[in-house]
């Protein structure tokens, strides 16, 4: 059972992203959108990426990051909204963290 997580808030002001991370499972995917893009530079993201056993796929909507002048590191895939629609059906369910 995989879950697609849509993260829409900055972890610098709210703890939605932290709560999301606490329920992440191996086959899940994480999509950063809206102010969720700022989480690319949050310490929580750094520690998530550092985890040896991290199998969660992390993506960001490219226009949302670009609009905010957020640099997207290597290893984070940049996607479109059409990709989010496809991911919706590649996973068993969607949870929106906003």
């Amino acid at each position: 059972m995989s879950t697609l997580h849509l993260v829409r808030q900055s972890a610098f002001s709210r703890n939605d992203f932290e709560q999301c991370i606490s329920v992440l499972a191996e086959q899940d995917s994480l999509v950063l959108m809206d102010d969720g893009c700022y989480n690319l530079k949050h310490p929580l993201m750094a520690s998530l990426l550092k985890k040896d056993n991290n199998k969660v796929s992390i993506k960001v909507i490219s226009t949302h990051a670009q609009a905010r002048a957020v640099e997207v590191m290597a290893g984070i895939s940049q996607i479109t909204m059409a990709d989010v629609v496809e991911l919706t059906f590649n996973h068993n369910k969607v949870i929106t963290w906003q």
Partner: protein, 122 residues
């Protein structure tokens, strides 16, 4: 068959709503059967036809209307959420309600959730 139901909880003037619209439009373009959009909480404000958004700002209500017309996308507004925001007064065919929207109870959300293989909240 991939079926999708969407819940919108953000108001028409929120930039978060643009993301919801972009997503729903992308789903429709991809040929996904979107069984309906349910407007709840501040999302209910979309159904207020008297809302006027400055012309240089994003026209989310007009955009929902366009998807409704182009794709016959069902737009449901929660009656209790609408009433407390002054959108519905007394009768459900009140003039305040934008005609693209159907005034529904929360039972409609249950119905959409049952019909759809995925439920996505914005």
């Amino acid at each position: 068959m991939n079926t999708l139901a969407v819940v919108v909880t953000t108001p028409p003037y929120s930039h978060l709503t643009i993301t919801a619209l972009t997503y729903v439009e992308a789903a429709l373009v991809a040929g996904i059967d979107v069984v309906g959009v349910f407007f709840y909480q501040d999302g209910a404000m979309h159904a207020n036809k008297d809302i006027s958004i400055a012309s240089d700002e994003y026209q989310s209500i007009a955009h929902w209307q366009q998807l409704h017309q182009q794709y016959k996308l069902p737009l449901h507004v929660c009656i209790t959420a609408a009433e407390k925001r002054g959108v519905v007064m007394g009768s459900i065919d009140n003039e305040i309600v934008n005609e693209a929207f159907t005034v529904s109870g929360l039972g409609e959300l249950v119905e959409l959730a049952t019909k759809a293989s995925r439920l996505v909240q914005f």
